[in-house]
């Protein structure tokens, strides 16, 4: 949308003003996330840039908050818990979700609308309501304050993402391929392993990543059903924000941003690969 040479002065003004506005909005999106990265290297226990930091004096910077983070038992425990719970619930959610998506994509699925509604519901119901429901239910069956309880809850929250992403890759799925393989004598497991799986793999992986980040980022359910031994990183940050708000939280936050960048990159690469495989050429 280059500016044509015959543009009026007003159009000229609007052309540049619009770009400035957009730049400001992008700044609004990114600044809060980027700002805490330098602040996490603050040598002082404050949340603002010290004079030394602004003049780029090396004395203004230090790794003390990272040292504090990695030497704190409770932070280390929460990091371990977050990965443990995240990975366990991702494996469960991905398995259940992929199977369900395969079933849903079949033309002969009865009650499709109703079933889809139920499968998507964990994404739609406000978390506070899910948390309240699970708090009572898990308490009554001895799952509250256990790892299994948190893993099951996070699995439930993660499955809609797997269902949606895998279903999306199946939209362009050519069912004659599996029929051809079966017709050539391949048993169903082989068909799945050699034909279906490679084609839906990008969807499965990006669904799994969504499920992982959902669990990794989840706090409301953890607040209600997790005990002190199941504390995750967001739960630790929650306590930190409400109590001793020190730059250690910023160090943890910076690490989380790095993890998000890594996950985002993987998802982007997968999306492109999937589009290429399914013959949807990027414009």
């Amino acid at each position: 949308m280059a500016l044509p040479s015959y543009a009026s002065p007003f159009e000229r003004f609007w052309y540049y003003a619009f770009r400035v506005i957009c730049a400001l909005i992008f700044f609004f999106l990114m600044a809060p996330i980027l700002i805490m990265i330098p602040l996490s290297f603050n040598a002082e226990p404050y949340f603002t840039f010290s004079q030394k930091m602004l003049t780029l004096n090396p004395e203004g910077y230090s790794l003390r908050w990272y040292a504090e983070l990695f030497s704190s038992d409770s932070w280390m425990r929460s990091i371990r818990n977050s990965f443990l719970i995240g990975i366990a619930s991702t494996v469960l959610a991905t398995t259940l979700g992929t199977l369900a998506a395969l079933g849903l994509s079949r033309a002969h699925m009865p009650f499709k609308g109703l079933i889809m509604g139920i499968l998507i519901s964990p994404m739609v119901v406000p978390l506070i309501i899910s948390a309240a429901g699970m708090f009572f239910f898990f308490s009554s069956i001895n799952l509250a304050q256990t790892f299994l309880g948190v893993v099951l809850a996070h699995t439930a929250l993660g499955t809609p993402f797997v269902v949606i992403t895998v279903t999306a890759t199946l939209v362009g799925f050519d069912h004659t391929l599996t029929r051809a393989a079966a017709g050539l004598g391949a048993p169903p497991t082989t068909v799945f392993r050699r034909v279906t799986m490679p084609l839906i793999l990008p969807g499965v992986i990006s669904g799994a990543l969504f499920a992982f980040i959902t669990s990794f980022d989840e706090i409301v359910i953890v607040l209600f059903i997790a005990g002190v031994e199941q504390r995750t990183i967001p739960r630790e940050m929650w306590s930190g924000i409400r109590e001793q708000i020190s730059p250690t939280i910023l160090a943890a936050a910076t690490i989380l941003v790095m993890i998000s960048v890594a996950l985002l990159t993987v998802v982007e690469l997968l999306r492109r690969r999937s589009e290429r495989l399914r013959g949807i050429a990027p414009r």
């Binding site: 949308m1 159009e11 619009f18 957009c22 909005i25 992008f26 609004f28 999106l29 990114m30 996330i33 700002i35 805490m36 949340f47 603002t48 259940l96 369900a100 079933g103 079949r106 002969h108 699925m109 009865p110 889809m116 739609v124 406000p126 978390l127 506070i128 309501i129 899910s130 309240a132 429901g133 699970m134 708090f135 009572f136 239910f137 898990f138 099951l152 699995t155 439930a156 499955t159 949606i164 969504f210 990794f216 980022d217 706090i219 409301v220 209600f224 990183i233 967001p234 940050m237 929650w238 924000i241 708000i245 910023l250 936050a253 989380l256 998000s260 996950l263 985002l264 998802v267 999306r271």
Partner: protein
Amino acid sequence: MDDQTTSSGLVTADGQPLKRSLQRAERTRKLTALALVGPLLAFLLVIFIFPIGQMMWRSVDNPQIVNAIPRTLEALQEWDGEGLPDEPVYAALAEDMRADAELPRREQWMGRMGVRLNYELSGARGAIARTSRAVDEFEPPFKEAFLDAHRNWGNPELWQILEREGRPLTASYYVAALDREYDSEGKIVLRDENRRIYVSLFGRTLALSGIILFLTFALGFPIAFYMSTLPMRYANLLMICVLLPFWTSLLVRTTSWIVLLQQQGVINNAAVAMNFISDDQRYSLMYNMQGTIIAMTHILLPFMVLPLYSVMKNIPPSYMRAAKSLGAKPWTAFRRVYFPLTLPGIGAGGVLVFIISIGYYITPALVGGQSGRMISNEIARHMQQSLNWGLAAALGSMLLVGVLILYWAYNRLVGADSLKLG
């Protein structure tokens, strides 16, 4: 339309009528599909749907009084509802209380009844706790003994409540959740002005969600439009600015807004350093409504941009050119041609943002202060602090129904299947 008649005569190689064979194949496929979906469906029904149903049940469940004072309730049937009941009712109550005290402590109902009654009448718990400690020493006439033990036993209102709530189901949590109460004749009336909170809190939640919806639209539309006009390469680059916040932990984003907004925070310090304001005039940006609005707009903006962008990307630029070449001014072309085409994206993003924001809990709890509280925070308070689980369930059920209606509308509008991620 007559393939039925034609096919009924056909048979497969093994001699089966084709129709039956096809039906069987159809049934097998249906079963396979169900078997694939089954595990997840069963899992969600048990782990997710059932608990929510159970929680909603709590909003009408009312076992405390029925279990605590069965004899009293029976004796109360004779009562005309005027003034105080007669001696037999008080005697039955004494008997109920003594029987309850015989039970193991964990199975006693009297304490739970006290808590339950207190939701209806403040001070009722005190009356029950104090009386049940003294009831062993009571001697007839019981009516006098009870009236001596606590003033509330002489309060006809308490007896009306016992009669009204002495049944296994109740509507009173919903009555309270709608800022209403029962008057002395048992009619549902509006509460005193200084005790009406939930309706206005629902209103505030809707208003805040509306403001956030508007802001995400106002900020999301221009950048989605701009990205859609760029070549794919640049658009993908800018897309990272939208996706990174989307993938970044909610707690991280809330923390960074605390860093920015607090009085000694980056924004205030910058404003002081640039002499916009003096040191003692720092803005109060946090622990109030602004805090909630700013942080939530940032957090929800990607949910508006992503659907908008995917719609705009697919609007051929030739439409605008055609409109202009037919003589439309740029603004008219935009308003009459382009904008209507983006409506599905606006609808999808808008409903998404609105659904998420009316159920939001974490950000208002951390940066919202008192004026930035939303209905979820009140549900959490009743769950964890005031422990009025019935009221929490009633408020939660109302919120849930609201969200489901919105989701249904969203589904009609764009279809849940079209939900795009990332």
